[in-house]
Symmetry: C2
Subunit: 464 residues, 2 copies
């Protein structure tokens, strides 16, 4: 396996395949097969999002994959933003279709004609829905698994509100949901308000959450968009208010993709391989029986039963053709948070020996304490992942007070920026680093590193 | 709402929408929006299938939606079977694609090129995978929600085995899984071995499970296909056996679609509306607070908490604008198995009044007994649904010993058939009823109702 620090990109491309997340040999570029292990991580992430949305009163729906050209053409800015990215169906069987159909690149244009039917009065508001679907983008640039795919898994929440202020409140709620998910993934992040020229096609403004990978490049993980009335007007989504007057709704969206998995790989991986945060690990504890005079497999299966009853996802690796040492390396590479070794001593003494993926050393515990000890270890792994990710993340942020300082940054650079496109372009020309926008969490002011006029704290970095 | 018996078809078309399963106003024919209630039923069915597959060692994967023309053309019979059904993508953005891409109509041609890479030796067998995805068929016939859609949810299991016998054994295992799911859905069925001309494109033989709807038409719910080496040869899926010799694998598949939901609606619905089997009901018990001097909502919410702890899916309907009577009708129409009424008497006495969707009468139980009593009621509803579905099903089967007898059948007709296409076609011309094939569960022999020569028990019916 590639050394992670020396060539992060090579390491990444290799680990996604050898760890059993995906198979890249599918004959269409940018479309990969999700293998059982990779699919399960994705499904566990989905489960968390479903729970958070349910708690927040956002209901799950499913809108069709196909969107007519007519639907897509309603909002011009939006169409323009996606025109080069859309796959077009022109034939059904041998019939030429009367109207071309696109594969959803995102679902505004599928959903909003229905919003205009569903919403009649203020009593129908707020309307809050989400879906977890795959979307399709005809990327012609270099594709990369989980980071730039042509087919990828997508979370999209869409809401409609009576007033702009209520839509603003919704954006805050989105950010609260996002924080819970970031906690599950043990991923540190910062929030930026995107420069106007880089906001979502059709949005009034866009906020993005990003992390920085070991390569020094930033990775956008989630976006929150305030649409105001921008879509309500062309799609004619109106409601009658308390006094019977017709008004346009205010809309928001929240989007995330399989990039989350890319972020998890890049944030927690090391030279031994993946490291999957316990809350989304398909296998939280792998039980490895060590062959001896007494067959350890029945006892290993018994322990698996105990863990299952406690809601812990585990597997017994009873493959004959591999040594215990091979299995240790294999599961470490695949990022299983905890290993449980079962040898003769454990079988005889009704114990189990626990080894965390994030720490050196072993701990032998009694069978009766197993479930509690495992839960305790998983909590420790989670804390350790969170802490070391935060430390790496901080080391990836340089504060720069000059253009030269930005240029020298190993990862992302924090610097004051006046807000003008000219100054952002100047930084990009000199440093190849993009302006991610102003920080949302920190309100620091000062003089622009480029032109010296008044500005606010922003982040510059190379991006995925 | 339409009277179910008088016009089943109208009743069906209306109930799928007013019960909140789908919205049919999406602008593409045969593609509907799954509303939260309908989507949840689909997801609960999926969860059961995941559990059954897991128990049976069949692993979940995800293969890309798009399949190249080249992949699809490998197996000629298969392509021929789907050619008129495929949606074709010919453009990406404004670029004409070098090779046209199809939306998966089913995934043999996506998966089997990978099987030929994954399988090397007998140690790699059996290979057993499944996926739960949407598939796309350019149906030009009349579409109908859940029964004939252009986009529909699909379960497909694919296995590869060293020998034909092992593949046969797999078909038996599929049928065992299917029986578990039929039990969950409370749906009676019979198994037929399809006539040769009606088997799946590329299969050696196909077995189908079907039920009969109140309209008298049979509905195919699940299919099990024995491919033998039919796909292994064109896709070159070989393994080296114990002696090092190269052999073709033997393959099977198991398919099911959203037709399951159509089957549930048609089997259990009545003049009051839907009736959802408890194991897949999004809301197993709806709690309706009845306004009185003491606000019943806090107590209702407390009961919801008790039910949640016991793993029971419930909802408190605290909508202000509707009367309790309206709510009773509404949830009956939507098929919730159990209603819990909370009035002043219940609040004061710390009790709850239970009303099953399948029985007359109320039962008041103590709060401390609530969870057990609800579970007990849900089990009773399930049993009642199973029994009455079985009774209706039996009444839909007529045994016929003459062609005239088949013609007179209200639903499906059981009759002896010699196995020839000529005799099946004759039946169809005279009765408009299709030969579903020989019964798999009953081995009855006799004289063909058409030609009088030796034959076996078969079923004839109009179909969906």
């Amino acid at each position: 396996m590639e050394n992670r620090k020396e060539d992060f990109s090579k390491w990444y491309n290799e680990i996604v395949e050898i760890s059993g997340l995906i198979d890249k040999r599918y004959p269409i570029k940018g479309m990969n097969i999700l293998m059982p292990y990779g699919l399960k991580i994705s499904q566990l992430l989905d489960e968390h999002m479903r729970k958070f949305c349910d708690q927040s009163g956002i209901e799950e729906v499913y809108f069709p994959l196909l969107i007519t050209r007519g639907q897509l053409e309603v909002e011009f800015e939006h169409l323009k933003g996606f025109e080069s990215q859309v796959f077009w169906i022109t034939r059904g069987g041998t019939d030429k279709l009367e109207e071309e159909l696109s594969l959803r690149p995102t679902s505004e244009s599928a959903m909003y004609p229905m919003f205009s039917l569903w919403i009649r009065t203020h009593g129908d508001l707020p309307l809050k829905i989400f879906q977890l679907v795959n979307v399709y983008r005809y990327e012609t640039k270099h594709t990369r698994a989980f980071l730039r795919d042509r087919e990828f898994h997508f979370f999209e929440a869409h809401t409609a509100h009576a007033t702009f202020d209520e839509a603003e409140e919704q954006i805050s709620q989105y950010i609260d949901i996002w924080k819970k998910l970031a906690e599950v993934m043990c991923i540190p992040f910062v929030l930026h308000r995107r420069p106007d020229w880089d906001k979502f096609a059709g949005a009034q403004y866009s906020i993005a959450a990003e992390t920085v990978m070991a390569s020094g490049r930033s990775l956008q993980l989630a976006t929150f968009h305030q649409y105001g009335e921008n879509f309500a007007k062309p799609y004619e989504i109106t409601y009658s208010d308390e006094s019977g007057e017709s008004r346009f709704v205010n809309q928001t969206t929240y989007g995330m993709s399989t990039r989350l998995i890319g972020g998890i790989i890049g944030t927690h991986g090391d030279d031994r391989g993946l490291l999957i945060p316990p809350d989304i690990a398909p296998i939280q504890a792998v039980i490895v029986p060590i062959p001896s005079k007494r067959d350890p497999v029945p006892y290993a299966n018994k322990l698996k039963g105990i863990l299952e009853s406690a809601g812990i996802r585990s597997r017994v690796d009873s493959r004959d053709q591999y040594t215990p040492g091979y299995k240790y390396n294999d599961w470490e590479m695949r990022g299983v948070p905890l290993r449980i070794e079962i040898g003769e001593r454990e079988v005889t003494g009704s114990t189990a020996t626990l080894v965390m993926r994030t720490a050196k050393g072993r701990k032998t515990v009694a069978e009766s304490e197993l479930a509690n000890e495992v839960l305790n270890c998983l909590a420790q792994v989670k804390q350790k992942l969170t802490e070391s990710a935060a430390e790496k993340f901080r080391s990836m942020f340089t504060t720069a007070s000059t253009l030269g300082g930005i240029k020298e940054a190993r990862g992302a650079a924090s610097a004051i920026w006046c807000g003008s496109r000219e100054c952002a372009d100047k930084v990009e020309q000199e440093t190849e680093m993009t302006c991610l926008g102003n920080r949302v969490d920190i309100q620091e002011e000062g003089n622009c590193v480029v032109c010296g006029s008044h500005g606010k704290l922003a982040t510059f970095s190379r991006t995925y």
